[in-house]
Amino acid sequence: MDQGGPQGAQAIDLYINIVLLVFVLATGIAAVWLRNLLASAMLLGIYSLLMAALWVVLDAVDVAFTEAAVGAGLTTALMLFAIWLTGRQEKPPVRKPWFPLAGALITGGLLIFGTIDMPKFGDPQAPAQVHVAPYYLENAEAQTGVPNVVTSVLASYRGFDTLGEVTVVFTAGMGVVVLLGGLRRRRRTDET
């Protein structure tokens, strides 16, 4: 497999990945570049949909599902509403963003540098593959009666974490309601 590059299904995966990543990069840069916030919000929705396609290529369908529903669907709707409440055009920046750009480039460079030391993609000897993952894959269905291992890990083996996640979502919803006065406003209109 090492000679003459990847072949067969692997080659198709590679080309799909390259195409998707190029589009991800293009939409990401365009979303930052444009001064029209409506277009930026739309581009970020497309970005999320492309990321969802990437997750599907990586066989992470549950993640892809969440990305498509939350990233491409709900977040875009919420951003459109935020734009509707504020304004459609971004104000030109007061000064050139050289310092944040340098910060982002240095951080990104360090992260890419860090990936050099990471185990190869799909390496069966990678620490993530040899710790608890084999145990889940071998025992999850017998122990929980749930064929989808992702669901059994999320809801059963890591049930406590998921309780925390639900609490985070709940807290976010409550926080927005308290901050934007959703409850009080409603009561006032009920009385009148």
């Binding site: 369908v61 599902f65 939350v70 669907g73 929980t144 749930v146 989808n148 059963s156 406590f160």
Partner: protein, 137 residues
Amino acid sequence: MKDYFVLRVMAKLLIPFILLFGFYVQMHGDYGPGGGFQAGVIIAAALILYAIVFDVGPARRVAPMWALVALSCMGVLLYAGVGVATMFAGGQFLEYGALAQNPAHGNHLGILIIEIGVGIAVAAAMLMIYFSFAGRR
């Protein structure tokens, strides 16, 4: 948005199927991709689509803010309540195996119930955020 005829017809056609798909994802998360989080977001998206295309008023009457707050609390409490129930059944917190004679059955039951709790909490929280935004205008 009320003036766009095609948009209105398509939304009216799609919303029941989006809701149905949401419930399918909710109850089918143990066999296919999906689960409470995704189902909650999809169900919330159906109502948000209605509110955007038609009017926010009827959507708010279907899901008033006090009900959403109560529902999101209920979802989290349902999840935590399963944990307490397993403790009463002789297990540890969230050890679903204690819910039935056969630990695998108990686990399956526990996963179904907490996923419903997750779905309710997420759908209600998303709608709370959306209606808070929509109420600012």
